[in-house]
């Protein structure tokens, strides 16, 4: 048992980064123009084992805008708990001042104004600078990648992930786990693991579907700082449901809690003094797993893209949330003595691209990967008058733009767009380049289909997706945010059971209620079914933006939460 006092000390150590009175000093530091690289990276930690965690970068090698969610609802035991806090509630919990740098990095209000003040975040060359600085302080630091690394940009799409594999090898990542990696198809994944990847590809919960036996390495061990550390990988549990299973037909996933418990035991029996789970479960699943599986010291969470300035402690397990898209790097220092973890210090390092200097070696490597696509990437397709973003439980403005494109270009009554959590933002006045469109759409099953669906079926689909997001038991939550809709309004009461959450479905064009027995023309993309036909979604979006020249997207008001009326 780690004494609570020790954890409080860890919190204080983290706050030393900002001065003497906690996170609130951020805005003062910024006002004094004292946001510095050294200040962001901080002093050496006190432990003997250092972990560096990056996750869900979604192939974003360049500094980007990324607006955090305004709506991120938790249900069941997660209700009102981090990470299910946004805006003011989030700032209050962590003592973040309005308008401060951390406000910009971690919440959504005044995003545009703060973005112009603090600049873009991320960039793999800045991340390399931070990693090198931590290694200079702590040469044995272990760099771990939580997955969703090889997908999400035009260069990653064109090279089938080769660019990101190469760059993360160069960064010196020492183990990874996975999710979108498998949407490259099993043959490509196997090729990468066998001949390109220079680190273990871990997944304790990936099984051969036919024989129900482990298909990938479950864990890897490190001897560092005079101790033995086991790192167990946990891939996204619902890959064959949330993504096209025909792309990896012989694999089965799932949470497999019993399997995790037995691998943890195996690690302890093998002499590990610290057990770290490198997870792509998503935060709420990790919260439950931490409560139910004994013996895990640290879970490096992923998938749900949450960034938290402090660890969440569940029993004796610490959950670290390191954000997405290269916005943050987490540094975790562990004090391991007498065969067990005695203390933990954590620092969520925000990658302010105008403050942290790019590492020239990494800049050069990244430029090499982008060079073949330079013309394609930089072509300006149009402009936006509005803030374009995606992240949140319901439609973001990027989704609305994609839905508008589907309705118009595919001549449909209703558009459906997947509730992905990835996709960089754009500020009002920004040009929209082809790179920007790919940042919101690049993946391996992009066909924009057009078909008919009855009103009854549409309701079943919305109810099904809603239960996959709002089921009170996180093990029954399948993955993404709510499916985005165009041309359709509805009301949702997330506290109800499946079948009773969705009501007042309206066809916006006519204002009429959706008729269960009528067929509607639907356009959408990212079908998980093999053989789906249609142009790639990026072509549809590009054509729409070209038609408009400058796009304006109003805040979506057609999806209503029941409690709001």
């Amino acid at each position: 048992m780690i004494p609570r006092r020790h954890f409080l000390q860890a919190g204080l150590a983290a706050s030393a980064l900002w001065g003497t009175s906690g996170f609130g000093n951020w805005s003062r530091l910024a006002a004094q123009q004292s946001l510095t690289q050294e200040g962001l990276i901080g002093e050496s930690g006190s432990g003997n084992v250092t972990l560096i965690h990056i996750t869900d970068i979604h192939a974003q090698t360049q500094p980007i805008w990324f607006r955090e969610p305004s709506i991120n609802l938790g249900v069941g035991q997660a209700e009102g708990q981090p990470p299910h806090l946004t805006g003011k509630a989030f700032r209050q919990l962590y003592g973040i001042d309005d308008g401060s740098a951390l406000d910009y990095a971690l919440t959504y209000e005044d995003f545009t104004a703060l973005a112009r003040e603090y600049g873009r975040m991320g960039g793999l060359d800045r991340i390399a600078t931070v990693v090198k600085a931590i290694r200079a302080q702590s040469p044995e630091a272990i760099l771990l990648d939580g997955g969703d690394t090889w997908q999400g940009s035009l260069p990653a799409h064109r090279t089938q992930g080769a660019d990101m594999v190469h760059l993360f090898n160069a960064l010196g990542a020492e183990a990874m786990t996975s999710h979108w990696e498998f949407t490259l198809g099993i043959e490509r994944v196997t090729e990468i693991i066998e001949s390109e990847l220079q680190m273990p590809f871990l997944g304790a919960n990936i099984f051969d579907a036919m024989w129900d036996e482990p298909a990938y390495e479950a864990m890897t061990s490190f001897e560092r700082g005079g101790t033995k550390i086991a790192v167990i990988g946990q891939a996204f549990p619902y890959l064959p449901i949330a993504n096209p299973s025909w792309m990896f037909p012989d694999l089965s996933f799932g949470v497999r809690q019993e399997r995790m418990a037995s691998v943890v035991q195996e690690a302890r029996d093998g002499g590990a003094e610290v057990v770290v789970v490198l997870s792509h479960n998503g935060f709420d699943v990790d919260r439950k797993m931490a409560a139910d599986v004994p013996g895990i010291d640290v879970i490096l969470t992923g998938h749900t893209h949450d960034a938290l300035p402090e660890p969440v402690q569940i029993g004796e397990t610490f959950l670290i949330a390191s954000g997405s898209h290269g916005k943050f790097v987490s540094r975790v220092d562990l004090d391991v003595r007498d065969g067990r973890m005695q203390g933990l210090e954590h620092r969520l390092i925000p990658i302010f691209s105008d403050v942290i200097a790019p590492d020239p070696e990494m800049t050069a490597l990244v430029e090499e990967t982008r060079a073949p696509f330079k013309e394609e990437l930089t072509e300006e397709i149009g402009k936006t008058d509005s803030l374009l973003y995606r992240r949140g439980n319901f439609n973001g403005t990027w989704d609305d733009l994609i839905c508008d494109a589907l309705l118009e270009q595919r001549d449909a009554e209703i558009a459906l767009s997947p509730g992905f959590r990835w996709g960089a933002s754009l500020l009002p006045g920004d040009p929209i380049t082809r790179e920007d469109i790919f940042n919101a759409t690049a993946m391996s099953y992009p066909a924009a289909y057009r078909n008919e669906m009855s009103g009854e079926m549409l309701k079943i689909v919305l109810e099904d997706v809603a239960d996959n997001l709002f089921n009170p038991d996180p093990y029954y939550q399948q993955g993404g945010d709510m499916v985005r809709v165009g041309g359709l309004g509805y009301r949702i009461d997330i506290m109800q059971k499946q079948g009773d959450r969705i009501s007042d479905m309206v066809l916006l064009a006519s204002g009429e209620a959706i008729d269960p027995s009528r067929n509607y023309v639907i356009a959408g993309w990212a079908s998980v079914n093999e053989g789906t036909e249609g142009p790639p979604i990026w072509n549809v979006v590009e054509a729409h933006i070209r038609d408009r020249g400058t796009v304006s997207v109003a805040e979506n008001t057609t999806v209503a939460l029941k409690s709001e009326n």
Binding site: A242, G254, D467, Y475, Q478, V483, S527
Partner: protein
């Protein structure tokens, strides 16, 4: 989110489950009563039922039952039109009282296992298995 005709039909069936669920639940209770001869059934302490929380394919869902020392274990899919999956009987020379199989589920439902233990008592375990359309994850 595109749905093939086959999937749509399967979903139609799944949607229907909500109606007759009560009737089928009775069929499950009847099957258990027949298995136990009406004896009391305790919550599982020596019986483990392992099933996925969400089925990757509702047509072939892997499940496993394990009850050290049990004489027999009945497995029921409470939401199927015919809930009976099977009964595993273990002879005196059986090295372990464990069985695994794959079952078809018409829709989201509880999978139920009841074990007859060596001392003649009965134990019950159940787990909800969700059958979903999927898609949109990430």
């Amino acid at each position: 989110m595109y749905l093939s005709r086959r999937q749509t039909m399967a979903l139609g069936t799944a949607a229907l489950v909500f109606g007759p669920r009560i009737a089928w639940a009775t069929a499950t209770d009847d099957a258990i009563a027949e298995f136990t001869g009406g004896a009391d059934v305790a919550e599982a302490t020596g019986l483990t039922l392992t099933a996925p929380e969400i089925a990757e394919n509702g047509n072939t869902v892997p499940i496993e039952v394990d009850a050290p020392g049990a004489e027999s274990i009945i497995v029921l899919a409470s939401g199927n039109p015919n809930p009976d999956v099977g009964t595993f009987a273990f002879g005196p020379l059986a090295a372990s009282q464990m069985a695994s199989t794959r079952i078809r589920l018409a829709g989201t439902q509880d999978v139920v296992a009841v074990a007859k233990m060596a001392d003649g008592t009965f134990q019950r375990a159940s787990q909800e298995v969700k059958v979903t359309i999927g898609g949109c994850g990430g």
